[in-house]
């Protein structure tokens, strides 16, 4: 019983997350009195320097918020500005956008499953370490990831910060012949995706439950990706939707001292966006293959309203979403007819526009106010991780407390568990800056214990160590 007193655990630099964050836990006996996900990613001030830019520029500029989900930024920016200007794009252009977005989903979810998350379940430090014993699996993950990148490279010009997206559509639409080799690669990827579902279904999942509200876009008839209406699933099972223009009055961001990200709450309550929320809200609209994959993975029947609230099992949902995104990409390529014009002109109109799409990590909202000269007068970006931060911290607290209730937990064991609790949510810290550093504080009775070679337990919030 070496740790019965109070202690502080601080992980100064979280690994296998996107961006820079840390984690701080304060433990008194078997209670966790504070659980913080600290974000020290330096602020980059996108909302500020968007002011005065032309209305055509936010898709390229906001892509640079995040190298992992640039398409999400481009799509939410286009949706918001086209909304302000009263433009609807051609259905074929909309389909091409969805295809590009499927590429990002495949790439990003495969990245998280294989390179960031799976090593946790197999007790490894990294995918490279994992490849020493599971080479075929890691190679399969890399192939899957590559197939997503292939979609983005063909449709977008490159995988990171694609160049082909513009307001109103695309600079250039591919021909049918150009899409043919892509379909071939996607058919092979479909097998890899199925193997992924079976592989992760064999992992051991600790018990845990998220009690937050779920927020995801809903677009009845389809699993919402590039468009939809915000929908909230309360813990009692009620679903309520609200118009996207009400987003900022429902989801309010507040600033906390330990973070350069802003924390958001939905109607004053903690909420969670991302794979678990999407699966609960849109699961019935998954493709037949993806529904079958969900059942086989033990997620229940999405057509009967299956809900998964165990964040450790989110890896299963991500695997199912890859199956779905590949199905969708194949459907779109098979039915594809190039649009007559790759884009519609979007003349600027003074006013406000709102846009929301489903980034791989969850709902990404943009709002722009345009002036009469067509310049951005004001911009607001609400990324998924900033919305999820409250739910992630609560999850961290619960998971640590559950472990403490079951017996003595050493600092190292607690650190590993705490990092896993965070990685479950695939936080994208680069995104959330306006947005992470683990400290476990076990009180004054025992000195603070640095648990990471790079950690500095004396750090003050917001000035995290490296």
């Amino acid at each position: 019983m070496t740790h019965r007193g109070s202690r502080v655990l601080h992980v100064g630099s979280l690994s296998r997350v996107e961006g820079e964050g840390a984690l701080h836990l304060k433990v008194r006996g078997r209670r966790v009195t504070r659980a913080q996900l600290q974000i020290y990613e330096p602020p980059r001030f996108f909302e500020a320097f968007l002011r005065g830019r032309a209305h055509t520029e936010p898709p390229d500029i906001t892509a640079r918020v995040c190298g992992i989900c640039p398409v999400a930024y481009q799509m939410s920016a286009c949706a918001a500005i086209e909304d302000a200007c009263g433009i609807t794009v051609h259905p074929q252009v909309q389909e091409l956008r969805r295809l590009l977005y499927c590429g990002e989903w495949i790439e990003s979810q495969a990245l998280h499953i294989y390179l960031l998350h799976a090593p946790d379940f197999l007790g490894r430090d990294s995918a490279i370490d994992l490849a020493r014993t599971h080479r075929a699996e890691v190679e399969r993950g890399l192939r899957l990831k590559q197939s997503g990148n292939a979609v983005m490279e063909l449709i977008g010009g490159r995988a990171i910060h694609p160049v082909n997206v513009r307001l109103g559509g695309f600079h250039r639409a591919p021909t049918r012949a150009e899409l043919a080799p892509l379909a071939e690669q996607l058919r092979r990827a479909a097998d890899d995706a199925w193997q992924t579902v079976r592989w992760v279904a064999g992992f051991d999942f600790p018990d845990a439950e998220v009690d937050a509200d779920f927020l995801a876009l809903a677009a009845p008839g389809t699993y919402a990706i590039e468009r939809g209406t915000p929908a909230v699933l309360r813990p009692d099972g009620r679903i309520e939707t609200f118009p996207v223009y009400d987003f900022l009055s429902r989801v309010r961001e507040e600033q906390v001292p330990h973070s350069t990200a802003l924390h958001a709450r939905l109607d004053g309550r903690r909420h969670l966006t991302g794979s678990l929320a999407r699966f609960a809200i849109s699961g019935r609209w998954l493709s037949r293959t993806a529904v079958q994959a969900a059942r086989e993975a033990g997620l229940g029947d999405p057509c009967a309203g299956a809900v998964c609230r165990n964040p450790f099992r989110s890896i299963l949902v991500r695997a199912v979403e890859i199956v779905y995104a590949i199905d969708e990409a194949l459907r779109i390529t098979a039915n594809y007819e190039p649009p007559e014009h790759p884009y519609v002109e979007v003349p600027p109109v003074a006013g406000t526009g709102h846009g929301a799409t489903e980034a791989p990590r969850g709902l990404l909202y943009h709002r722009y106010l345009l002036d009469s000269a067509g310049l951005v007068a004001d911009a607001r970006l609400v990324p998924p991780t900033a919305q999820n931060q409250g739910a992630i911290e609560e999850d961290l607290r619960r998971i640590a407390e559950r472990a403490l209730a079951q017996g003595d937990v050493g600092d190292e064991e607690l650190r590993v568990l705490a990092e896993r609790a965070i990685r479950n949510h695939d936080p994208c810290i680069s995104c959330s800056t306006h947005f992470l550093d683990l400290t476990v504080d076990r009180g004054a009775a025992t000195p603070a214990v640095p648990v990471d070679p790079g950690a500095d337990s004396s750090a003050t919030p917001g000035q995290a160590p490296r």
């Binding site: 640039p70 390179l115 010009g157 600033q255 990471d452 917001g462």
Partner: protein, 261 residues
Amino acid sequence: MNTPQRALPKLAVVKLASCDGCQLTLLNCEDELLALAGQVEIAHFLEASSVVRPGPYDLTLVEGSVTTADDALRIRRIRAESRHLVTIGACATAGGIQALRNFADVDEFRRTVYARPDYIDTLATSTPVSAHVDVDFELRGCPIDRGQLLEVITAYLAGRKPDIPDHSVCFDCKRRRTVCVTVAHGTPCLGPVTHAGCGAICPAYGRGCYGCFGPGRSANLPALIPLLRRDGMDEAAVERFLRTFNAAAFDEAAFDEEPRS
């Protein structure tokens, strides 16, 4: 059995203010990643591994720009631990899009984004790594090109200089046989003044180059600007065009009378 244990060169990947896209480029080398992992010891790469081995490192790749007092100290520590230090991408090489603060009032920026600006610790400028420490090689791009990244890593592993051409994007359009978007369609394009490396993607997709690799060796902006004006951009639009992902570098080039050496 009994193969002699050769110490592998140690690779570190570190991040300052950035979007993670350039380090993701390394993970996007799907065909080469596992082979590379056999040639180097990935000693510090937080995005990919929980193991952090202490320096010194043989090759350190730095993503991101310096925007906090803490990072300005950190980059000195990183330099001291690194035999070779290579910056990857427009942020580390030219300050990135966040260098737009260099032309504005950072306090106002802070107030625009944060309700409690006093919680936010930031410098008034976003500066490239070379403004703080010696850099052995600067790899351009927003984001960097995967092929160029592999070339830089293999060059340093082999102990030779990276073979990265510094001509303009125009050469690559010719090589791709892309019809010039400016000549044929009057589309404003930064290709003539932009460092090659992306493979001239934008013109191939029918849009003008927007300069994400920064100014090339022979950038002659005073000659290009009248063409941009002719093709319909007003002065403010030209300024915005040049002030994006390599804002500070193009600004410098714009006022150079002589071609850059």
